[in-house]
């Protein structure tokens, strides 16, 4: 090693340069490391959603059949999506709420493209249970929206968290109105 170091030093100006053999060993190991990562990546990435899963990632829903005051639940990406046709009173209460009362401040206008229809991912933001309040007669919580039975989170008529352990409002999925009565979620 000493011999090759001396040789190396004459060839290079910097005396702290590692010997040629060290360089080869480090470069080889680095290449082997890169190769290992390149091999590992496809094996890990195969666990991500497959093309057919992604292709099914949006749905279309006809909302004209939902009577005022009623809700439906549809399945989107394996999760429940709540669509509520809200009453005038519910809309009024949701938009009248003072922002300072909210844990995760968001206006009702920002959450519902058309105020009549509220579209939410029906998964509690605490630990993923499905809140109650979709069916007539179910507990709707203190704010007349939804109530999660798992750990007692209360959501208001805009799906915003008002009381309980959940940190954020019920998520609004990306959606667009294809016509007055049909929305596409996703």
């Amino acid at each position: 090693m000493a011999k090759s170091d001396t040789k190396k030093m004459t060839a290079s100006k910097r005396p702290e340069d590692p010997g040629r053999r060290d360089f080869i060993v480090i470069a080889t190991n680095a290449m082997a490391g890169l190769g290992a990562v390149a091999v590992a990546w496809p094996l890990i990435d195969q666990m991500n959603p497959a093309a057919d899963t992604l292709a099914l990632a949006n749905i279309e829903v006809d909302v004209s059949k939902i009577a005022e005051g009623q809700s439906i639940t549809v399945k989107w990406r394996g999760k429940p999506v709540f669509i509520r046709h809200r009453t005038e009173d519910e809309i009024a209460r949701a938009s009248a709420t003072d922002m300072s009362d909210l844990r995760d401040p968001e206006s009702d206008q920002a959450r519902a493209e058309k105020p009549d229809y509220l579209v939410l991912v029906g998964v509690c933001t605490h630990l993923g249970c499905v809140p109650l309040g979709q069916k007539t007669g179910e507990v709707r919580g203190d704010y007349d929206g939804w109530f999660c039975p798992c750990h007692g989170s209360h959501y208001d008529t805009s799906g915003r968290i008002r009381k309980g352990p959940a940190p954020t409002n019920l998520e609004v999925p990306p959606y667009t109105f294809l016509s007055d009565s049909v929305i596409r979620i996703g």
Binding site: P42, L43, D45, Q46, A50, A51, D52
Partner: protein, 408 residues
Amino acid sequence: MSAEKFQNPVVRWIDHRLPVFSMLDHEKYDYPVPKNLNYMWNFGVLAGLSLAIMIITGIVLAMSYTAHVDYAFDAVERIMRDVNHGWMIRYIHMNAASFFFVVVYIHIFRGLYYGSYKAPRELLWILGVVIFLLMMATAFMGYVLPWGQMSFWGATVITNLFSAIPVVGDSIVTLLWGGFSVDNPTLNRFFSLHYLMPFVIAGVVVLHIIALHRFGSNNPIGIDASGPQDTISFHPYYTMKDMVGIAVFLLLLAMAVFFFPNAMGHPDNYIPANPLQTPAHIVPEWYFLPFYAILRAVPDKLGGVLLMFGAIAVLFVLPWLDRSPVRSARFRPLFRIFFWLLLIDAVVLGYLGGKPADGIYVVLSRIATAWYFLHFLVILPLLSVFETTKPLPKSISEPVLGASKGAA
């Protein structure tokens, strides 16, 4: 062996309580390996690598596979088209299976040529044959999983082999099927066992290696190392030599996977299984063809099955059929000729196994089958008695360094 040999204090702390590093160190540096091993000795490591590749890609494939007759074929097609990198992972699994057999066949013939099965390595050899049998069972069941035409009819034909057993044969076949034909219960249990067997193989591989390290590797000369001057440490000498073989192996595997992924498969397996229609010409995977040829060479159901299994069974008793005290074929002029004849015979059997079972092919299959058994059961025992072997060198070093130094 003392803990002081490790610089890293964490390694030293662990090794004092759990001496895994000492064990590795022992295998790497203290394990003496004959210094004259040629590239034929790469194939054990390559077989281990193949097993690792098969297990890793297999676990990954199982994440997207469904073992049900209605979904299996589509699940595999989904892996090929939709799952991220699924096509590559499946092609690696398919082709690495073939490469595994290539490597193992070379490994076996290496053992045959250099007499690696002889005392004191008989158990090492027998464990190897056990691994070979387990590999065949695993490969067969894996081939059934895509539930294509070849999967289904391969499963039907192979399971029906057991119906040749007198009296209880049919009951055994019904037991294997879990029904009255190859169907959903069969597919389910094959998947279960296909997942289990590689780990059983890995267990036997550990025994194989323990047995190997008892007396160390055989070598091209076939005489025992006479002392430290005949051996070198495994690391870095043979780790580096193995790396060369691994590089070539992976290069060839990548070539098969990316350019000829279906070359070793059969197109009929891309047709979904149809229990009402047998393909016109049904063949097993190429690595079973020699045994398939033996099966078809015999015009009797039970006889064919017995001979086919006998072709492997004979390997178990090989250490006692070949009684010649000289291991390596280098010093056995007659044995060497017969070795090459056996290799040609095995290739010919493989070729015949892929041909239709009529006309000249049947006749040739019978001749080749007869020669296979003749070699093991008659020629080897006779050679042990009548062959005049060449004089053996006194040590591994002698042929290279000359008698005076080698004897020292």
